[in-house]
Symmetry: D2
Subunit: 300 residues, 4 copies
């Protein structure tokens, strides 16, 4: 574990992820556009870098955990980007929820410079990041995947090699699209049930053991909707972005996606109504408002 | 267990359900519009009745497991219907997927005759019926629910008292609506993934442990879509009916249900294309056809 | 013109329609559940009736212009309904926007009593009613249609015989469904254009001469949206009702109607948000709110 | 009229448009990637150019009528593109249905080279191009618009200056989006009506004079659907492209567009089913197939 690892993007997810690497004994170099973000990690023993390029010069493997593909491209290819410091044979591990076509282009560009890349987006949210139980979906070459596996297993409990470059990103956006569609059904069902006089806690209890069950129902709806807690979790803005990637992929490849596009549009309404930074389950409020009810567990 | 129980509707679900009652030692009187349907049960010890009225005269509790509310109403109120045989104090247990407003009207009519009724629809399909692992969602009075509980526990493993008359039906259609919406997302995600070169078995493996997971994905998609098996299971026609009930309830109560109505329309296309009697997961074929791919696990 | 005509339902539409009959010299007997509603017509020479039955006894032809099929059925078949006064050979002209299946049942019931019926719903709104330029879509027998034609031509300028009982209602709901779908496209296009910096008056001017044109754009959008005037016109509630009839017909006959059902759901949101009594074009507010713009013509 | 005009893109639309310029006496230089396409114009007196650059050297104004923004960008900026021949002060008139953001970028690039540009997409199809009755929607500077107006008036009968660069493109995609949504309603209404026994010719006749009317109904449905003629007209592929532009603009600017996205998805199904090169009204076949009817006028 002598080799230092770079970590760029010390945000809600990046903070617990990088802490796990430190706790596992990996020497870590960290960078974030907001210098204050890295302070807690430096106090735990990480080194701070002054730029992606500076970080890249010190590390053989660099993890990025950034908001979207544009930011990743800028951090990698920009003026003081990673490419100005990464050596031949080093590896970029992009754990952001990136767009597959951007990842493929980036991997090709880096390959031309002798630099390897895998896409390794995660599922599981902040809880999963803190608990080390994230699912990680990897795209890229088999041998590079194997080389990075110990690092990834420090961050997540289920690591899957999905396919070539972009395959991890593709599966990530598919997963999140399914989640978003499931959440729509959950919201409609809860509001309908409450309007019909049912206890939403009872709905969740029963459907969780029946064919309508989903993570959106048995986990998200419980933690957020029934608890009237719209602190993210996973924001409407981020879920919208993943749906944009999925539906764009559908357009590019000729796959009709009626449900996914409906979900995208409803999230668009939610964002326009000021819910972008809330947990995505806040879309239930749109239905509550129209139906004139609130999804609240009935008193025991 | 001396009291005889009546069972009307010896079909795909009713057969294994009534067999479980027989196996548990309940004296059973059976009826079906197709006389041949009751033969196997008579061979196992059940009595055959010549009409619902005839059956009602011999039983204190009668279970109905029928295609829809119209048939239930006919069997109960029709010319040789149950009302012509049921005594005061007897109980109708309607386990069909009925419409809540029909159930409420029927319960009120029967109450006027001194007859009790509960709605007790099930979730879990033929597998669940055979294994006795159905979830049962009961609407009606608490004391009648308690009175019927031993019978219901012979048929299902999870029995829930949801609320007053129609509450079981309401929750049933909500559960199935959520399932249908989840299935749409599953189908779109699988076809998109396959079109992008992913192995659908890998998609299911990974998403089953991630936030996109659902019964529609981890159970139905595996048994039906990945196995290229569209033998029902749960037919498109029946799921359409449940969605009709749910969306009608939404109309009546002023709850916008965009996803549920989209699912209803897509199932309508599937029915029009001849898939009504296939498992509902066959809707994936509509997407496969448009996208020009087949969701088949890749060779190992 | 000696024969008296009955008119039941003296509301927004019924008032100008019945005035036209009076102006044309028809002896008129009027009735409304709100007695005050008939006062202006009595001042113009109409007789008031005390009930539908009372009215029916005095008239050979009776026009109904009522909110929906339930009210029509009550007015015809109820306790002091028309059937208690109508003579054999008399004709019921239902000009309400009724459901075709209700109309068919009612026509069959009346036929058994020797009473004829046509369905003759209208298109054109209050302006059309006042100007006598309504389009009238008639279902029923050819000879009864011909018998009623002079009366209908007094009320509308375009009278069409569409087919048998219910055919007028069917075409009416199809027309209004098309209108509702067109209006959705209009709203989305206007909000998109305004957000992109275009003058909505310019959008209407140009699209009115191009392939995107529709009555929803060139007439309704101009009178209501561009004028920021949501006084009905044609209320969201009434358009919702017509869409309910159309989409129910689609369900009953196995016709997938994705756009119509989407429109129904969006109108449902508008109703839930308190816009039911406003003009249906008020749905544009839902989009304006989400997009953060107002569709206002730019200053000259 | 001494100054020569260049015309690039001699296809279904470009051919009649360039013929009108020739007929009006404009000296014309033409280019198409398929050399055979320009032969009929050369026979009518046009000069052929060997590349866009070659054409540009001979002309002060150049019209492009190309399939999409990518092709326009290639023709303008590519290896032997227009920029290599256009002089300072010359004008590019892009009459393609381009994406507004591409147009804005291109206009900015050309402005840096002292070259003016307007976007001037058209509405009206091949009939309109042949008859000279196209509507033309212009984005760009007022003075450049005025300078090009005589040329545009030779091609179309209604020329509108909409706003700055990209405003023409924006309005074009809005118009076509409204058309596509209208067409969905038309198809659902016609199939529903036919299934209910109505004559589709009667539906069109009546709705054309009522509030449901639209160009999609009174013109397209008559020429294509009622005539069972799916020769384009305006192909499904091209309408899909315009909807892609409109819905992408909606995503970029935060305007929810549920109807437009639904239309896009349904066109996507139609393309996947092999209808991309047919007239867009062929989507009615999807509904006919599901409903089991054909929209054919009844015999007189």
């Amino acid at each position: 574990m002598g080799e230092r690892i770079g970590f760029i993007g010390i945000g809600t997810m990046g903070t617990p992820m990088s802490k796990r690497l430190l706790a596992a004994g990996y020497p870590l170099v960290v960078y974030d556009v907001r210098p204050a973000a890295v302070v807690p990690l430096v106090e735990l023993g990480a080194e701070a870098a002054s730029s992606p390029a500076d970080l890249a010069e010190r590390c053989g493997k660099v993890i990025t955990m950034l908001p979207n593909s544009s930011v990743v491209e800028e951090v990698v290819l920009g003026e003081s980007g990673l490419v100005h410091g990464l050596k031949r044979g080093s590896v970029l591990i992009d754990m952001s929820s990136s767009a597959p076509d951007s990842t493929k282009r980036l991997a090709a560009t880096l390959a031309g410079l002798g630099i390897e890349m895998i896409d390794a987006p995660v599922s599981g949210g902040v809880y999963g990041a803190e608990a080390g139980t994230l699912a990680i979906m990897v795209g890229g070459k088999e041998d590079v995947y194997r080389e990075c596996l110990p690092i990834l297993q420090t961050i997540g409990s289920s690591v899957f090699h999905i396919g070539g470059h972009g395959a991890g990103d593709t599966l990530k956006c598919i997963n999140n699209m399914m989640f978003a569609v499931n959440m729509l059904g959950v919201c409609e069902g809860l509001v309908l049930g409450v309007k019909a006089g049912l206890d939403p806690a009872k709905i969740v209890e029963v459907v969780s053991r029946s064919s309508g069950r989903s993570f959106a129902l048995d986990t998200k709806a419980v933690r957020q909707i029934l608890a009237r807690n719209y602190q993210p979790g996973f924001t409407t803005d981020l879920l919208y972005k993943d749906l944009e990637i999925a539906t764009t992929l559908g357009r590019q490849s000729g796959v009709p996606m009626l449900a996914a596009n409906l979900a995208l549009q409803i999230l668009s309404v939610a964002r326009g109504r000021g819910m972008g930074a809330l947990d995505n389950s806040a879309v239930v409020k749109l239905l509550e408002e129209a139906a004139g009810v609130t999804v609240m567990p009935q008193e025991a």
